[in-house]
Amino acid sequence: MQTTLKKRLEIVIEAPVIDRLRRVLDDKGVSGYTIIPAVAGRGRHGRWNREGEISDTGRMMVLFAIIDPSELDDMLAAVYAVLSRQIGIVSVSDVQVVRDDHFRRTSRADT
């Protein structure tokens, strides 16, 4: 099958900020993303574990978005505008996709 190169942006970010991050990605017109809850982890801010907690503070979420390489710099800049003051990390890797049209940027989010 014919595949196209895309970038997979993976962001680990503290839960209270996830809505803000989503707004930024929506505004930039990213074609899509998926959010997964993490249950435990470690980083410079220490170890954490979710079991039995009642507040969202201190929990991390993992968001990944598959985007076009041409949009990468723009997205990274936008993501860092949010992330620079918050707890979280970002990484980027290469992926191949089949249905290229699915990952076209939209001028504005559809919501």
Binding site: E14, G46, I54, T57
Partner: protein, 320 residues
């Protein structure tokens, strides 16, 4: 009962003992854990129940007294952060923004502490006015703005968004909503849901406090030794300052002992759900682990175990 009898009765009540069990289990690193979804579900139940009961009792409350108590609560919530901030800056070397964030926690309230105190009051036969639930709701937010002012922040994005986020914060909406529903349906409504919101309430509270003990214990273990002792003791004297001011205001507006003890408890308690989340949005430079350890690991257990009986004893001694 004098203060020691009260303290003893409180200490051997099942809710407090389950809290201590959770605390100990966490300290010995047991893997006992209540799933997050269940803990959240229970906290929603507790807030609904306390709000509903408060509302259903409003029929018996004069509205002027309620309004006075709400104003007193707002004053406490807005004023306490300034005291907390001053004390922290005078005694520790915490950066301005961290001290401001902590101060906001102490102005605001812990609804679980409030619930435990209501329950303890009921067990002692010292019922409080239904409107104290509204006071609790009113005290959640003002402290956040005091905290931002202390940090020297005039948020760009913050302004509008923040006020929205705080006013429509889940537990506030639920507390006020359940209060309004209880008020609207009155005794007839209460009779319909008494077995769920009334009869099993204290048992569910035991389960929840077990979890709170686990959470507090894990927090303590994680940050033991990391916290400067000058910051740490803040978590012990600040509730007493809050309670003293609460008692003063309660006397001023003429609350009876049961309600006064609850106002003291609210002033003494520190937020660990609403304010930490707000601070992550508004003051992300503040280290969340310091304030959370303080409010959840130090002040919450202190209030639950020692504070509540002290506040009831003091209220009864001064106003009874």
């Amino acid at each position: 009962m004098d203060v020691f009898d009260l303290a003893a009765a409180n200490l051997i009540s099942p809710p407090i003992l389950f809290f201590l069990l959770g605390l100990m289990a966490a300290l010995v690193r047991s893997d006992l854990a209540i799933p997050e979804a269940v803990a959240k579900g229970i906290s929603i139940y507790l807030v609904m129940a306390i709000g509903f009961k408060g509302g259903a009792e409003m029929a018996a409350s004069p509205l002027v007294a309620a309004a006075l108590a709400i104003v007193a609560g707002i004053v406490l919530s807005a004023a306490l952060p300034f005291i907390s901030f001053g004390a922290l800056r005078a005694t520790s070397r915490l950066p301005r923004v961290d001290a401001a964030a902590i101060a906001a926690h102490y102005g605001s309230i812990s609804i679980v502490t409030f619930i435990a105190a209501s329950d303890a009051g009921m067990a002692m036969g010292l019922a409080a006015a239904g409107f104290m639930v509204a006071v609790a709701a009113a005290m959640e937010a003002p402290a956040i703005f005091s905290g931002l002012a202390l940090a020297g922040r005039r948020e760009g994005e913050g302004g509008g968004t923040m006020i929205r986020e705080i006013a429509f914060n889940g537990s506030i909406v639920l507390l006020i909503g359940a209060f309004a529903i209880g008020w609207a349906t009155g005794e007839r409504g209460m009779a319909m849901v008494q077995p769920f919101f009334g009869d099993i309430f204290r048992g569910v509270l035991c389960l929840f406090l077990l979890d709170m003990g686990l959470v507090a214990g894990r927090g303590l273990r994680r940050s033991a030794g990391k916290l400067d002792w000058r910051v740490l003791v803040h978590g012990l004297y600040m509730p007493l300052i809050g309670a003293a001011l609460g008692l003063g205001l309660a006397a001023l507006i003429g609350l009876e002992p049961g309600s006064a003890a609850l106002l003291m408890t609210l002033a003494a308690s520190a937020s660990y759900i609403a304010v930490p989340a707000a601070m992550r949005l508004a003051l992300p430079e503040a280290d969340p682990s310091v304030s959370l350890t303080l409010s959840l690991g130090i002040t919450f257990p202190f209030n639950l175990v020692f504070g509540i009986p002290i506040y009831f004893a003091a209220a009864q001694w001064a106003l009874g």
